[in-house]
Symmetry: C2
Subunit: 209 residues, 2 copies
Amino acid sequence: MTRTPRERMVLSAAQLVRIHGVGATGMRDVVAHAEAPRGSLQHYFPGGKDQLIAEAVAWAGDYAARRVARVAAKIEDPTPGKLFAAMAAQWRDEFTAQGYDAGCPLVATVADTAATSDDLREAAGKAFDGWQRPVAATLEDYGVPAARSTSLAVLMLSALEGAIVLARAHQDVAPLDTVVAELRPLLDGAASGVANDSFATPGGASTVD
Amino acid sequence: MTRTPRERMVLSAAQLVRIHGVGATGMRDVVAHAEAPRGSLQHYFPGGKDQLIAEAVAWAGDYAARRVARVAAKIEDPTPGKLFAAMAAQWRDEFTAQGYDAGCPLVATVADTAATSDDLREAAGKAFDGWQRPVAATLEDYGVPAARSTSLAVLMLSALEGAIVLARAHQDVAPLDTVVAELRPLLDGAASGVANDSFATPGGASTVD
DNA sequence: GGGCTACCATGACGGACGTCATGAAGGAGG
DNA sequence: CCTCCTTCATGACGTCCGTCATGGTAGCCC
């Protein structure tokens, strides 16, 4: 609570984007939520709404990255599958405790502005990268080969984001549990040096048709 | 092109939501895009914007379901992994051909309105169900046990939706290719009757910590 | 033909938005 | 004390939004 008004506004913007999306999040809503003076907007964010949202997206990316590091440190007997389960559990806990009003701000930003603002789309892309990097690094710590770790990190982020959307649509955490249950063996298998395609049809083409 | 103005408006609404999200899609934009008379809005959609968007979402769900059936019919020597690859390839092709402006309308609707409108959130949930059902049914046709097919369908939808978001953020189809490459062995393994948790730690708890 | 219904056209209303102009506190340094 | 600069306050402007009111046209049915 000792945060500067500027920080509060960025943080409030991120939270409001999670709930209402970029388009439906007004500048007046942000200052009201941040209990900040409205006049400060044009002072701290001369770039207008885009600058504010871009900073909120960047903050969200950093926050996600920090959260990965924090949760990874608390896993005992760590495996890739447990890391993914822990990441999903954070969303599970929030949904059950706080409801399904808030989703991922990066998804909301991409959905609303990918076609409209290159700046915001790029900011979201960098935020995703900043989130993906510690995931991949942690996977390597757990014994996943470097060549594989970024691929698995992309899979984890994709499955998690998609499950979040499904969970919100259904107001049910079941999709989160499902992707964790299904992905866990695959992820843990990658750490023990088992080849990726041990089950693939031998000699099968890697493209469809 | 022989579509009725009403159909054109629903279809245009769906396309505009894919690009701009729900909040930034205006009714005037819809009638302009559909080349429909503006006066028809209050006649065909007395429920206002919510009704129009809800119908667009429902249409999108039906369309996705039809597309699954259509693409499944064209796969030779079908396996679950090939089905997933084919579904991802449809998005891959669209991104490379048309650019990254348009995403999944269901994701955009959930991100924008999950906290605001129960009607739209529910419509999105039903649309996801209508999409998931033919996927699960096709998996069963391919030899996946019934108990497993819905779980894998949820995983496929989640991973696909998440990869679509990542692809749009990066303006690169790589995430789609990655999730297909990583998920293919797992999916194909499920069809040959291999147990899901063959790699899981024996007797391990299914929750983290 | 008269009347009824379906469909389309147009303009207006109230509100919310992002942005800007203007100006007032309030401490720092001379 | 005066001045400068950061920070905050407030009101206004122009635009766009979703919705509504009103009226016009076209075709079918009795």
